[in-house]
């Protein structure tokens, strides 16, 4: 009996010390991105970019041991909500980083911002959370969705294109993309074509483009749709019509598009050849670790980790006082890979945007490269509606 008591006491002591060690200010971050389905490559880049940052900082953000819990939202809002609640209630994470897609963001925004965790989006930046529904617990390290499309609209306008043919998949982001383009383009829109989401053969649409003979073509075709469109656009001999796009020719699709995409134009807040020391180190480390060229998804997730790191340094590693933590986050006191970075009132970035061109590098890999700056210190069009102090 006595021995039993000893054993129990010893076990209790071990468990207590173990839990005490576990509770010793370990930082927990839930990373929720899309890791299955055709878009898995985007989430994979974000995951790899974030993990690379944590690894580069020695497994610690702001000097605190960091555990990253990666979950897959499956690009399903309902699944994402369940998983994000698991991260908050079971894993008790301090930060939720994610997601990639705007529809998932709409679903997880409230559960996270109502909890004790802070939500940092490394990609999705919808207009509603930039404007009236802005929230002090929500930060974005990417952009407001419209801005990337507006870059191309501005370029088309400045370039003096008179007639432009627009095409996007028939869903919210597709419609937003064309609206974003048109917000800056004042010329004539020859035709707006919406294709079913997931369409892979664009031969009918390409024949229409050829018949319309526009000055330029703008599209938003993420993932496999973009791979197909670009290949078929070139096969149809339409390359003399400038191909402007967003999220269609980036580092996630270029490995499959290869030479077919070279010379095609896109908009971005960064490119792998952005010239600053921290970015050169990042691109080299990413390529060495994952054998792929990083895209904006990886870059923005990396910046999200740097953002958390900077805030925790300012608070001395503490996450307990949320107001102090949020104030530290809002300062954005870190060396962004894209160079300049600061937050606007709505906690979306205020940053430069560039026209980028797909190119083949000397080592045979493909990447986007900066052509010219289109917007300087751009504030998104919804920030004025945000009443957050």
């Amino acid at each position: 009996m006595k021995r039993c008591v000893h054993v129990v006491a010893a076990m209790a002591a071990i468990m207590l010390s173990a839990s005490a060690a576990g509770a010793q200010e370990k930082l927990k971050i839930g990373l929720i991105v899309t890791l299955s389905g055709p878009s898995a490559v985007l989430g994979g880049q974000a995951r790899d970019g974030f993990n690379l940052a944590v690894k580069t900082l020695g497994g610690k953000l702001g000097g605190v041991d960091t555990e990253v819990i990666v979950v897959d939202d499956e690009l399903k809002p309902d699944v994402a909500v369940t998983k994000v609640k698991g991260l908050i209630d079971r894993d008790q994470v301090n930060f939720v980083v994610g997601p990639i897609f705007s529809n998932v963001l709409q679903a997880i925004h409230k559960p996270v911002t109502d909890s004790n965790a802070i939500l940092i989006s490394p990609n999705a930046g919808t207009s509603n959370f930039a404007g009236k529904q802005c929230n002090s617990n929500f930060f974005v390290t990417s952009y407001q969705n419209d801005q990337v499309h507006a870059v191309l609209g501005k370029y088309a306008q400045d370039k003096g294109f008179k007639r432009v043919f627009l095409m996007a998949p028939n869903y919210q982001a597709g419609k937003d993309a064309l609206a974003g383009f048109k917000s800056m383009f004042k010329g004539d829109v020859v035709e707006e074509v919406y294709t079913p989401l997931g369409q892979l053969d664009f031969s009918a649409e390409l024949a229409k483009i050829a018949a319309a003979k526009p000055d330029a073509f703008f599209t938003f075709m993420p993932g496999g749709m973009g791979v197909n469109l670009v290949k078929q656009y070139r096969q149809a001999g339409l390359v003399n019509i400038p191909f402007l796009s967003a999220f269609t020719t980036d580092e996630s699709t270029l490995p499959a598009q290869k030479d077919d995409a070279v010379g095609f134009l896109a908009g971005s807040n960064w490119a792998p050849n952005t010239d600053n020391p921290q970015n050169k180190a990042f691109v080299a480390a990413y390529e060495a670790t994952y054998n792929a060229v990083p895209g904006t998804f990886a870059m923005q997730a990396y910046d999200a980790a740097l953002l958390i790191d900077s805030a925790l340094k300012a608070t001395g590693g503490k996450t307990s006082d949320r107001e102090v933590l949020k104030a530290a986050l809002k300062k954005a006191d870190f060396q962004s890979l894209r160079g300049k970075f600061k937050f606007g009132v709505n906690q979306y970035p205020v940053q430069d945007f560039f026209l980028v061109r797909a190119a083949k590098r000397a080592d045979g890999k493909y990447q986007t490269e900066i052509v010219e700056k289109v917007f300087t210190d751009a504030v998104d069009p919804y920030a004025a509606e945000c009443t957050m102090k």
């Binding site: 055709p38 892979l200 649409e205 050829a210 018949a211 993932g223 096969q235 149809a236 001999g237 499959a256």
Partner: protein, 306 residues
């Protein structure tokens, strides 16, 4: 609407139809002869595309790649038959749907594990990489024309196989009354295996043929599978001829509807409303066609006589 544009769009429709036919041919046989619902048929199309991507990269030649893909797709189909499908023939349709749906999920993930989630591409063979100017400003790739030719040739060969060979006769007989064929001393299990393997090979072939124009990615067969089921339902389950006619109809209606629907509607509606309606109506056209066919001919255009 110029005649050139109409011609080009008709070719596009034909090409989609041919592609659908290659996939639907196997599916309709499996469904018709074995009374087996194989949702995983689209996955075999995907596997064909991935095998082609792999073999083309290995051998550096498109032709060698295709030549290797065919037996590999056949072997894969037979492997699935032995491992999974064989155990499902006697079960009811719900079991088959559940099992083959599971197979879709499993194989989509498996493909991602083996080849990665990023889309792959297959370079176009030099011989077919040229293009013809069919209309002002638009080059029509020779490859797409070749695709139509190959599809038509395959249809011809299939027609001969089904109508002029002993195996074809058994397949036709099996589609009409499988238990009777079995009672007459034909090894129905082996017949099923041949049909199944052949169907898988056709789907794989279709996947390999489109690999140079479409991206090869996980889940690429899932969207096509639905269209394929529409095709075999319109054509009449078990009928190769029905599948051929229905595939061309679906391909043409879908493409021409998308291309010209808004213009036609503009004759009766305001431009904005026409483009809005046309956009929503075009993807529905084939389902409207299917509903109409089912209303007038519930067992499809070319029903197999029971």
């Amino acid at each position: 609407m110029s005649t050139a544009l109409l011609l080009v769009q008709t070719l596009n429709g034909l090409q989609l139809g041919i592609l659908l036919f290659l996939i639907a041919a196997g599916l309709t046989l499996v469904f018709g002869v074995m009374d087996f619902i194989n949702l995983a048929h689209g996955v075999q199309y995907m596997i064909g595309a991935y095998l082609a991507a792999m073999f083309c990269a290995w051998t550096g030649s498109f032709w060698a790649g295709i030549a290797l893909t065919l037996p590999a797709a056949l072997a894969f189909g037979l492997l699935l038959e032995v491992l999974v499908f064989r155990h499902l023939y006697g079960r009811d349709h719900l079991d088959q749907v559940l099992a083959t749906l599971g197979l879709i999920i499993f194989l989509n993930q498996a493909v991602k594990t083996v080849w990665g989630a990023a889309p792959l591409s297959v370079p176009m063979p030099d011989l077919l990489s040229g293009s013809i100017a069919l209309m002002d400003g638009l080059l029509y790739p020779v490859y797409r024309i070749a695709l139509i030719g190959v599809g038509l040739a395959t249809a011809g060969v299939l027609y001969l196989l089904i109508n002029c060979t002993r195996v074809g006769m058994l397949v036709r007989a099996g589609a009409t009354n499988a238990p009777m064929v079995s009672a007459l001393g034909v090894d129905i299990g082996r017949l099923f295996m041949i049909v199944f393997g052949f169907g898988a090979m056709l789907a794989g072939f279709a996947g390999a043929m489109v690999a140079p124009i479409l991206s090869v990615e996980p889940g690429m067969g899932d969207n096509l599978l639905i269209l394929t089921f529409v095709v075999i339902v319109i054509g009449g389950i078990g009928s190769i001829r029905g599948a051929f006619v229905a595939a061309l109809m679906v391909g043409l209606i879908d493409t021409l509807g998308r291309a010209f629907g808004p213009q036609l509607l503009r004759l009766v509606l305001a431009p904005a409303a026409a483009s809005q309606t046309g956009r929503s109506l075009a993807p529905m056209l084939i389902y409207i066609l299917m509903a109409a066919v089912l209303f007038y001919r519930p067992s499809g255009l070319f029903p197999v006589k029971q």
